[in-house]
Symmetry: C2
Subunit: 150 residues, 2 copies
């Protein structure tokens, strides 16, 4: 899927991402990069609202898992998450989720195929001017969609 | 401030809260209750998007701190946060932040007055049908607004 196709999928299926102005910048072997303008996401101080930062970092992790599985019907949800807000974001919000080591990702995908379930721990960061502003770590849980009996 | 006044403050100063349909249900000695409809906050599975849950839980904590200080110009931001997503939210999102023990809150407010800074650890939960769906714990940092020299 192209960045524009992933963006359209997110806007359609998770509508608050459209209100946030979320766009996928790139999706490749180096990871998934998601950005959003400050304007709809600012807080009372004119910097990025912590809730938007959290949502966009979560989305980068969620998107990376969903794309890695290559199963558009997979159910992916976030289990636990930790956030560290290190400095304010004063402009465009840019979240980067890099894939884990290839054997970790391969194990996750194999487990998902074999058992219909998988868990993956991922880190995402929000960076501005070359500095990390927010660190996110979350556990993502994937389940194969099973069609209910007719 | 009445719940309607707090809601209006949030919508004006943190505009994504208006897009999320956030409303303050109540604000009193028992805590701050914030709710939002599922519709603008649903995910690809038709349940509440983790990013919206995270944002709304954060907001309940942020609002409680801001109201407790009674200084409309105080700068309040979230430092670190942890989230535990225990079960999906399938209807209205309702986040509750209860105040800490009264001596903890008093110490925080006194420190803020004396030094111009304060830190407070708070828990918020999102509950549905009497069950906890999301647990949030965050450290909030408050700073007195100092007018820059003319």
């Amino acid at each position: 899927m192209s960045p524009a196709e992933i963006t359209a999928y997110l806007h359609k299926n998770i509508p608050i991402t459209a209100a946030m102005g979320v766009e996928v910048e790139s999706s490749n072997a180096e990871g998934l990069v998601i950005k959003a303008p400050l304007e709809p996401n600012h807080n009372h101080l004119g910097t990025a609202f912590g809730g938007s930062l959290s949502a966009i970092a979560t989305l980068a992790g969620y998107g990376l898992v969903w794309l890695a599985l290559g199963d558009s019907k997979a159910h992916v949800v976030v289990g636990d998450g930790t956030l560290r807000f290190r400095r304010p974001v004063t402009g465009e919000i840019r979240a980067i989720c890099r894939p884990p080591a290839s054997q970790v990702m391969r194990h996750f995908c194999e487990e998902f195929e074999r058992t219909g379930r998988g868990r993956l721990r991922l880190q995402a960061t929000i960076e501005e001017n070359g500095e990390v502003a927010v660190e996110f770590e979350g556990i993502f849980v994937a389940r194969k969609f099973v069609k209910p009996p007719a």
